[in-house]
Symmetry: C2
């Protein structure tokens, strides 16, 4: 398939490389020209703008930082006037922003899919991302062969915005999950009990989670290297809280968790993995 | 082994029956005499008091409601004057209360083990409880053949109180886990997205937990039958918060979760399963 790809950062670069490996014809654009070089070396062609990267394509994919960036590059994509184009954004942005972009592109004849991912840089490189997609059946069908090169757990959740809603739900469960394991560990050691034994006991019962198993082990190893940076989880939980505000939705566990991630950014832990919330809890109770 | 068993409620009755099935000689006592009948029918002998049930035994086990009950029956057990007796309490009480009982029994020559369980009535009947034990190596070794009849994931976590600390850590992770999945589901449907599809998408990634899989499915089925009653989870989270208070420990996620379980008891959901926290979230945001 002829695919345009916009945004070649930590996530976008390996995702675009996996499209090339999958045999697709890929044209790329990135704000910083030097980001394009590894893709050009691997056989992609380069474009001078979002409009140019979208010209004559079947599919355009963006992986950028935030909602204003998505809106801006997608305006460029729409201006290319490519008939029957499907545009997919795989960044994590607010559901409301995704719906607004969908409406704007629909008016320009472009069918838009919001398809955020989870799995991080490791999953992007391995092509094992979870992909949560919202949009029309026809647009999802067009994007599916590209998704198959980048991910393995690919779910078409619903209409416009449904992918971002699912990603936000994912960040609720993983954010609270990381905080829960960190609180359990801080509780154990403040009581003088071996954290490793507590984790072992909990893994065998209903407390089992991938987070207890993997992130819990990294907490024991005090390996706070990202993985998934705290400031990015903070940004995602801010999307959750803004959406809850707009809808009149009461989410007390997410709110407490969002506050802790705010405090991580505020106390200089933003560049560390989200499991560094354990260090914050320790510093708040004399265990640091 | 000659075992005395105190407390024959929903949990204690099947646990004592499993000791009999395991070939142990079991003597029982319960506050309400009629609770003893099923055990007598199954081959246990009956006693008239905690002191009598402890006389001449190698091991005494209690499974009662709360810390004052444990302290009271264990005082009776100690008064029996059985040389070399090991006493095990499998109720869920505060770590500080378990340590105090340990010290009191040690002074009377009884070696005490705190060994709370998780797995609920289903696990008690099937003999598949998780057992988290705190106490001396010698006392744990004495109790181990009895534990093997009642559970499958049996961990000797540490010294006196370590079992209750581990159980409290378990209730932090499971309580926040249930609230996280409920908030994710309330978020999805308030945004007009299919909860079942969201759960499916999340199960394939780092959000995976036994709670998302099992309790999440029961939320979709709106099956709020306990399982594990809300008021019991509220009681356990109260132990967590009291212990945090005593130690100067900051647990914001547990605190938010404890408040929600308080609200469940206050709003008449105490007898329903802890997953009914979903109903509370729905009622707070116009989804009821």
């Amino acid at each position: 398939m002829k695919i345009g790809f916009i945004g070649l950062g930590i996530m976008g670069r390996p995702m675009a490389l996996n499209l090339l490996k999958g045999g697709h014809q890929v044209s790329v654009w990135a704000r910083r020209a030097e980001s394009m070089q590894p893709l050009l070396d691997a056989g992609a062609s380069g474009a001078a703008s979002p409009a140019e990267v979208a010209r004559g394509q079947e599919l355009v994919i963006s992986m950028v930082a935030d909602a204003p960036d998505v809106a801006e590059v997608m305006r460029g994509v729409a201006s290319a006037g490519t008939a029957g184009l499907v545009a997919v954004d795989m960044s994590t942005i607010a559901p409301a922003a995704a719906k607004a972009i969908h409406a704007e592109l629909a008016a320009a004849g472009v069918d838009f899919v919001d398809a955020p991912v989870s799995g991080g840089e490791v999953g992007a490189i391995a092509g094992t991302l979870s992909i949560m997609a919202g949009g029309s059946d026809a647009a999802f069908a067009r994007a599916e062969p590209a998704f198959a090169c980048m991910g393995k757990n690919i779910v078409h959740v619903g209409g416009p915005g449904a992918g971002q809603v699912t990603k936000a739900a994912n960040q609720i469960v993983t954010g609270m999950g990381v905080l829960a394991v960190a609180e359990a560990m801080a509780f154990a050691s403040k009581n003088g009990v071996d954290r490793a034994k507590v984790r072992e006991a909990l893994l065998g019962g209903f407390a089992y989670s991938k987070i207890l198993e993997n992130h819990g082990q990294r907490m024991l190893d005090r390996n706070f290297k990202p993985g998934f940076k705290s400031w990015m989880h903070e940004k995602d939980l801010n999307i959750v809280m803004q959406t809850a505000h707009e809808l009149g939705l009461c989410l007390p566990g997410s709110a407490a968790t969002a506050q802790m991630f705010n405090a991580m950014v505020g106390s200089g832990l933003g560049e560390e993995d989200s499991i560094a919330v354990l260090k914050l809890l320790e510093s708040l109770s004399g265990q640091a």
